[in-house]
């Protein structure tokens, strides 16, 4: 009890907020109640007015909830799917949410169709400000009972809405033809009418890793860059980067990381990527346990040079994982989960010179219970940590305010 109070006090101080955050297992909240605190694997975004939108999974429903006071209170959650379906909810699989300039709400998730790695890519949208959602649609167009999972959603400045995912249709075809096929494939589809319809599915690459999230960043107003874990040769699971167009053409595909991780296993550990506003290059962070590098790494990739630079070991401790990058006011932020044997630490480093040099790590929050991957989101004012844990429920933490507080405490 004392420990819990202490943890809450630490969180309280960290948040500098007078209100306590709801925790799902506290006695005054029914565990079965649908809420962001009791749900799983939330994703969050801000709309043009600075309102927070969160999508999460609870009991076979994807819910969307809004907050107009930076996560202190939330609207009643609205179910996106009206019929229950097994939406995947684990660290690498979570519902995604985007709210565009006009207030259209786009939501995607992976529907688990069996316990054998099969799934479908699901999409729904709201055209009335999140009050109602259209009946979810399946975006993979092969009608195969196979793996379509680990989807990512991205809205380009041009309004093109991209969905990318890990797909096993080519593996199925190879098995039927009696041929070997390593891993899975990366596919995508694009909507040019605000999610009313999607293009056919386009293949980006064969032989991707089967179980890692895909990172997306803009490349010009309508193209995107994607970063994913790819199988190179027989069993090296490093990263590849590609530029995709709305027309279905993959312009460039290159290797982005050289760690030489020889492994025929599932790392369940996808990369993160943002475009630099300073150089236009791509900040990447990922996990590896390769022959050359081990731990969480950062590097900056240039499509012009076709190579990665400023490679930096972020954290080499074995418990470290799940990095997430964001750039705010030309300052690059990287959060990740560390583990010291007793507690999970949410650590942060920053770089003000495009990833050439980095600050010392700062621990934003700690927990000695289960927790989700950390995410970073931003509005026009600040950068926020979006994080769910058993101990604190859902937390939105102003990263800049917290850095200032920590630095004042040190002085």
């Amino acid at each position: 009890m004392y420990k819990k109070l202490l943890s809450l006090l630490i969180l309280q101080a960290a948040l500098m907020s007078p209100s306590l955050y709801a925790i799902c297992d506290s006695s005054d909240i029914d565990r079965d109640q649908v809420s962001i605190h009791c749900g799983n694997t939330p994703s969050a975004t801000f709309d043009a007015r600075g309102n927070l939108w969160v999508a999460f999974v609870q009991d076979e429903f994807v819910y969307v909830s809004q907050s107009q006071d930076l996560g202190k209170s939330f609207s009643d959650p609205v179910a996106v799917n009206s019929a229950a379906e097994d939406a995947e909810h684990n660290g690498e699989n979570r519902p995604k949410i985007i709210v565009d300039e006009r207030g259209l709400v786009f939501v995607s998730w992976t529907l688990k169709t069996s316990s054998r790695f099969t799934g479908e890519i699901r999409f729904s949208r709201s055209t009335d400000g999140g009050e109602n959602f259209e009946t979810p649609r399946t975006i993979n167009d092969d009608n195969l009972f196979t793996g379509h999972r680990f989807e990512s959603l991205f809205l380009a400045d041009s309004g093109h809405l991209y969905l990318t995912w890990v797909d096993k249709r080519d593996l199925e075809a190879s098995v039927e033809a009696g041929e070997d096929y390593v891993g899975a494939a990366i596919y995508y589809a694009v909507s040019d009418d605000d999610g009313a319809s999607f293009s056919q599915n386009y293949r980006v690459a064969n032989n991707s890793c089967e179980c890692c999230r895909i990172a997306i960043a803009p490349r010009g107003p309508e193209n995107i860059a994607i970063l994913w874990r790819q199988v190179f040769g027989e069993d090296v699971r490093d990263h590849a980067i590609a530029e995709l167009t709305p027309s279905g053409k993959t312009l460039t595909t290159n290797r982005a990381s050289y760690d030489q991780w020889h492994i025929n296993a599932c790392p369940h550990h996808g990369p993160t990527m943002v475009q630099s506003s300073l150089s236009g290059d791509y900040h990447m962070s990922w996990f590896t346990n390769g022959d050359l590098n081990q731990g969480i790494y950062y590097a900056r990739y240039s499509f012009d040079d076709e190579r990665s630079a400023s490679i930096f070991q972020v954290d080499g401790q074995p418990g470290a994982g799940h990095p997430f990058l964001s750039e705010h006011n030309e300052k690059l932020h990287l959060v990740w989960k560390g583990f010291n044997g007793r507690e999970t630490l949410l650590n942060l480093i920053t770089s003000e010179d495009d990833g050439a040099t980095w600050s010392e790590p700062t621990t934003l929050l700690k927990t000695n219970k289960g927790s989700d991957h950390p995410l970073l989101i931003q509005n026009s004012d600040s950068l926020f940590l979006s994080w769910h844990s058993d101990e604190f429920g859902y937390v939105l933490l102003d990263v800049n305010e917290n850095i200032r507080r920590l630095s004042n405490n040190e002085n």
Binding site: A265, P318, D390
Partner: protein, 170 residues
């Protein structure tokens, strides 16, 4: 009527076994999946004190794990005495899925554990602070419990090298 009575009796027996197994977790029954918590690993080790054993970590969400389970199932058919303990890193409330997989590979009666705490980082650490969570992951403990680890699908060469006892391979 007789059938009904037999059914009730079987159910009662089942409850009795469940009760005994609850009080004495080392007893294995048909659904022999045990809750893996922070002290489970030391319990497994003490169970095999002075003996060699192999630990296989897996998940239903890991395609290469199934290749390994298939291989181990076949090896264990030929070597039923081979000490092999399974730990699934999936939450124990999804054990129906795990049992379905294990049954496919004839492994459902093997000693089996599933992660039973959402603080998975600490569960992983309790097994091996140097494990990053990738699956499949295997650990071999010799008679002095010196540990060897391997990430990715196990090979017959590794098993041959690790075990002092002879193994018949399919």
């Amino acid at each position: 009527m007789k059938i009904k009575k037999a059914k009730i009796l079987r159910k009662l027996m089942g409850n009795l076994i469940a009760l005994i197994s609850f009080a004495w977790p080392n007893l294995t029954i048909a659904d022999n999946i045990r809750s893996f918590t922070f002290d489970s690993f030391s319990r497994i080790k003490s169970e095999f004190e002075g003996k060699e054993f192999l630990l296989g970590l897996w998940s239903v969400d890991c395609p290469p794990c199934l290749v390994e389970l298939d291989m181990m199932g076949k090896i264990l058919d030929l070597n039923p005495e081979l000490p092999f303990v399974l730990i699934s890193t999936d939450p124990i409330d999804t054990k129906e899925d795990a049992i379905e997989f294990l049954s496919d590979f004839n492994l459902e009666n093997r000693e089996s554990w599933m992660f039973a705490d959402s603080f998975v980082e600490r569960l992983r650490y309790s097994i091996d602070p140097n494990w990053y969570g990738e699956l499949p992951r295997s650990y071999f403990f010799d008679r002095t419990h010196e540990m060897n680890s391997h990430s990715g699908i196990m090979s017959t060469e590794l098993l041959e090298n690790w075990f002092a006892q002879d193994i018949t391979f399919p």
